[in-house]
Amino acid sequence: MSSIAQKKGFGATIWDFMTTVDHKKIAILYLISGGFFFLVGGIEAMMIRIQLAKAGNDFLSAGLYNEIITMHGTTMIFLASMPILLAFMNAIMPLQIGARDVAFPFLNSLGFWLFFFGGIFLNLSWFMGGAPDAGWTNYASLALASEGHGIDFYTLGLTISGFGTLIAGINFLVTIINMRAPGMTYMRMPLFTWTTFVASALILLAFPPLTVGLFFMVFDRLFGASFFAVEMGGNTIIWEHLFWIFGHPEVYILILPAFGIFSEIFAIFSRKRLFGYTALVFATILIGFYGFMVWAHHMFTVGLGPTANAVFALATMIIAVPTGIKIFNWLLTIWGGSISFTTPMIYAVAFIPSFVAGGVTGVMQAIAPLDYQLHDSYFIVAHFHYVIVGGVVLAILAGTHLYWPKMFGTMLSEKLGKWTFWFFFIGFHLTFFIQHFLGLMGMPRRVYTFGADQGWDLFNAISSAGAIFMAIGVIILLVNVVMTTIKNERVGNDPWGDGRTLEWAIPSPPPFYNFAQTPLVRGLDSFWIEKMEGNKKGMIFAEPLGDIHMPNNSFIPFVMSLGMFVASFGALYFLDGDKPWALAVLVIGLLITFGSMLVRSLKDDLGFHITKAELLKDAKGGNTDGH
């Protein structure tokens, strides 16, 4: 492998991606697979809205409807939003701190493949006897009573993909702590790096409770334990606690990187330093802390007692304070700026009112007595779609447009981007705004149909019409991606013209070693400082040009994850009794995983060096996009 440009066949490209340990390529893998699951989840959402478009519809049966809402939620949270955000973290964060790669490139690849196989395993349930049907929260009383293997696909699939996410989180933490370029102090880190850091810390602390809960669930369902079985002396509420101790930080794991993306966008397209950078950083950290003290607000109606409800209600309301700080800082960043309304910027501007609407309904639900009225109604559905779609999904779409040139070296069409925005944005509000009122009118969540005499017909029809708008928006985005890829008009280092942070100082896409020379950071918005001082190179170098040590590609992460995938089928069918092959499958799968771990441990893989001569050749306008 060298940095000399070569034409590569399709097979060689696939092989390259299957073995890559380069954070930029892993980012592309995350983006493609996350995007695929986003489409799958979107199709499930469309089916839900078709079913609810009119009273007494029989498009879906009640059982299938339960499976679809469960898979819609699970897919969108675990397999779409999080991986796409991980894609941006992978692609951008190491560039922002001036690093050559993440701290553990091999683990980065392993994290991706574990997520990927976990997601595929979960979705194979559709073709292998039915998907999980106990809601994405998988409450134990429902889950333990669920027939078939749906819930087992859920528990095993999420266990595997959860390992992957945990690995990614730890990797980012170590990277940000140890691999910042000289001069990049904590308080000079771009906000997207900060939010990646805090979100990774949340991953580190929040995924273990989920893993414990899932283990208990696996033991209850597959081995007849009774952690959650009330009739055997277990306690079904413990699942709810474990799930939400994970689940509430999880929504911050999603929204914090979204905040980070928007912070970058506001600064770039207002051509101003972020207003209140320090306050934004500390608000991010505070949100991370509070995220662990509020989970029981999902369980007000369980009957925790007035004291517990009051404590958690107050803790929940406090979160509005750091979030409010952020909102005002963003507004003041735009204030007086020289604003250009590019596609990412209109997403960012639209995000503020949408997310605030979701936040306000959130504070309403934090009032425990009111929550008794709102609980399990469409008001809740409207609320969490306002924060997740109005916050996270808008950030994902904005980030796709903002970072597309940095990831792929081409610019998505601004015109089509704006069409996507308007269809998606109007569709989003059309779908979910009216659901607040459906909730107040008494429509419960998770019902597969409703009667014509209940007065919910019109609002549901409007909501379904909105969903079509959103679908059109996403289709236009896909067209945009295809057209941009075919046109293949390459762009320079700083395609938006106003980039502020280090990632815009190097070619798009960056060479596979990122920085030929490690940059020296002299302040917040490093690239902007150099630009303003007329530095044509865009950065000051902290070291002379020299050989660079790089890790070798490896196929082992793929095989290791494949082993877990195979073993899961064995575990799933093991206790059916009539499938003697299941034990063999379980053993073979584990052998593959542990065998590849052994190979990894025993084989010395010292990587390779890029010589100074090759770097000089690259700098003269040779190859920039990898091998």
Binding site: L205, H241, F292, E543, G546, D547
Partner: protein, 110 residues
């Protein structure tokens, strides 16, 4: 990287400083060790003296907490330079675990 490595010869003053530093550290170790033995003695004595369990259990838990902190700071070198982030994450983890256990104890099992 090759160009980063260089050999450093210690001056007399640096040597003296390092020696003094090590002596200080040794004194710290011995003092901590003595305190830990003493704390353990208190715990055993309390049980042997047959105090009420409601008194013994919280005090032993408190002593255990102190022991953990002494262990971390004096024997596992958490007081050393560059351990700030490690300490921060350890305390975050303890904090989250504490909140979780506290809530489960008070809401579910009490």
């Amino acid at each position: 990287m090759a160009h980063d490595t260089h050999i450093h010869v210690r001056s007399k003053a640096e040597f003296e400083y390092a020696k003094k530093k090590r002596a200080d550290e040794m004194r710290g170790h011995l003092a901590t060790f003595a305190i830990m033995i003493f704390l353990t003695l208190i715990a055993f004595t309390m049980v042997a003296a047959g105090f009420s369990a409601y008194l013994i259990v919280p005090i032993i838990l408190l002593l255990a907490g102190i022991q953990v902190i002494l262990q971390l700071y004096y024997f596992m070198h958490m007081s050393g330079k560059g351990h700030g982030m490690v300490a921060f994450f350890m305390f975050c983890g303890m904090f989250v675990a504490f909140i979780t256990v506290l809530a489960l104890v008070t809401i579910v099992w009490w």
